[in-house]
């Protein structure tokens, strides 16, 4: 074997090893959580409210709370994010104003989540008088999710071939018809990826919901959009650090449920994506 090929083999081996290093922590985290939660995970744990100072019972209200918050976040951020991206890519001319918007979007994604939390608290909870509520929490999480959704949608729209737009316009379609029928449908996989990614992050965040919606202990389901709810990440924080003598396995079981929820969301997006990818022929 020549030295060049030897070197190549060694390089491949090293690269493979490095790639493996990325996977190992994930596997270890999952293994560790599963191992420690196995004693507490049960049907009751998922379907019942906490009892006896959260030392017993389940985490049902927190699961519902997190799901409600994810849905609320999506309702606000998905239309806003997608339409903003459509405007930026399809309609806006390249000038100082639009460059400013694009720059802000990029910078928004770099802001720490606790800052979003405080912002949401002052704007939605205090100034708009929404109180600590599902509405305020969803809006705060939505603002946090926007940059990722906008960026992903922008990239998805830009990757749709220019010729599709020309075909549509040359047949006499209006600008909006062109966007609606010849651009957006082909951008859906990319939009989906960005949305699920940012919603998964929103599902696991504690800081933005800390002052805007999360309840320390509220063993019933929300009745309106102005109710507080328990949420998995905050509940996890509470039982791990704020309340003494809670079995460790309950914390890990909560972790397990949170990760499972995020995993389910990703699974749905993977299925939808592969469904749309089958139609992609160019």
């Amino acid at each position: 074997m020549t030295t060049a090929r030897m070197r190549e083999k060694i390089a491949f081996f090293v690269l493979g090893l490095i790639t493996l290093l990325v996977v190992i922590p994930i596997l270890m985290i999952i293994f560790y959580i599963v191992k420690n939660s196995i004693g507490s995970i049960s049907w009751e744990f998922i379907t019942q409210s906490p009892r006896n100072g959260m030392k017993e019972g389940g985490i049902f209200p927190a699961i519902v709370g997190t799901i409600v918050l994810i849905i609320g976040t999506m309702l606000f951020s998905l239309p806003l994010g997608v339409l903003s991206a459509v405007y930026l890519v399809e309609y806006a001319r390249d000038n100082f104003f639009t460059r400013l918007i694009k720059l802000s979007v990029v910078n928004l994604s770099g802001i720490p989540s606790i800052v979003y939390g405080l912002f949401g608290f002052t704007l939605f909870v205090l100034f708009l008088k929404l109180g600590t509520s599902i509405l305020a929490g969803s809006l705060t999480l939505a603002i946090m999710s926007l940059p990722v959704i906008i960026t992903a949608t922008k990239e998805a729209l830009e990757s749709v071939p220019l010729s599709f737009r020309e075909i549509s316009l040359s047949l006499g379609a209006t600008k909006w018809q062109t966007v609606r029928y010849c651009v957006l449908p082909y951008a859906i996989p990319g939009i989906l990826t960005g949305t699920v990614l940012s919603l998964s992050r929103a599902a696991g965040e504690t800081a933005p919901i800390l002052f805007t919606v999360a309840a320390f202990y509220l063993p019933r389901l929300p009745r309106s959009l102005f109710d507080q709810v328990m949420a998995l990440p905050y509940h996890l924080y509470v039982i791990s650090t704020q309340v003494p003598n809670i079995p460790v396995s309950i914390s890990f079981a909560t972790c397990f449920v949170l990760i499972g929820l995020v995993f389910l969301m990703n699974l749905v997006s993977i299925i939808l994506r592969s469904h749309y990818r089958k139609k992609k022929l160019w």
């Binding site: 001319r93 390249d94 010729s163 599709f164 737009r165 020309e166 075909i167 549509s168 316009l169 040359s170 047949l171 006499g172 379609a173 209006t174 018809q177 029928y181 010849c182 082909y186 139609k279 992609k280 022929l281 160019w282």
Partner: protein, 251 residues
């Protein structure tokens, strides 16, 4: 017989940024003729075509002055989408949408408000027949258009343009990527369309212009050098540059 003018340009100048692509262009195109435009690369042929349905304006650096009249109306006073419905274009490379054959053609009528299923089905069939493609695809209208061969795709594009009932069809070197047999089929289709439509053909292939067109214009560096009956232009060109080009001495 006095021929009716469909398109008329008056002192048309087209620019991309500072680069002038067409200079003081004055010409008239008659109803139901096949008008050929020949010339080397960068002579402004495509820009001229795309000026007629205002597709040039998709490029932000484009600007034009002078007037273009379509059926005696100034282009500036016609809505883009109405204009483009009446002046269709076939692009150089077959550009099909990644949907079925049927939906490629149904798209145009649908955006123009035709909703009835049987009406659209009828339009699809008629358009495909006019573009001489019906017999080849009638049994697989639901299969993806991208699976058709290049020549079939280009005829599908013609059918798609016909489906919105234009008056004028622009061809932008539409046979440049096709083999001679596909080209012949498309030229046949063009001859049949002559009854109903005005056709403007830009081509790099001077022989095609000689075969298909009735009148022909020679563009060079953004200027109209010569315009004549095709037979005259190709047998006794008045300008030496035309002569050089069609006999293959440059370009």
């Amino acid at each position: 017989m006095v021929k009716e003018t469909v398109i008329k340009t008056v002192n048309l100048n087209c620019r991309y940024g500072a680069l002038q692509v067409l200079k003081d262009l004055n010409l008239e195109i008659h109803r139901n003729e096949i008008f050929g435009i020949i010339g080397p690369a960068n002579s402004g042929k495509t820009t001229f075509l795309r000026a007629l349905n205002r597709l040039n304006f998709l490029n932000a650096s484009y600007s034009q002055d002078g007037e273009i009249f379509f059926a005696d109306k100034n282009l500036k006073n016609i809505c883009d989408n109405i204009l483009r419905k009446r002046i269709g274009i076939i692009f150089a490379l077959p550009q099909v949408l990644p949907v079925s054959i049927y939906n490629n053609i149904a798209y145009g009528p649908k955006v123009h408000g035709i909703a009835k299923k049987d009406a659209i089905e009828q339009i699809v069939e008629e358009s495909l027949k006019k573009a001489s493609l019906w017999d080849e695809v009638k049994d697989r209208l639901d299969s993806p258009a991208m699976k058709l061969s290049g020549g079939q795709q280009q005829r599908l594009c013609i059918a798609r343009t016909l489906a919105v009932e234009p008056d004028v069809i622009l061809y932008d070197e539409h046979c440049s990527g096709l083999d001679p047999i596909s080209t012949a089929k498309i030229e046949d289709a063009m001859q049949q369309l002559k009854e109903t439509y005005t056709q403007i053909l830009v081509t790099n292939n001077t022989k095609q212009a000689a075969r298909v067109s009735e009148r022909c214009a020679f563009f060079l560096m953004g200027e109209l050098i010569e315009l004549d009956e095709t037979a005259a232009l190709f047998t006794e060109p008045k300008d030496k540059r035309t002569d050089d080009y069609i006999t293959g001495r440059f370009g």
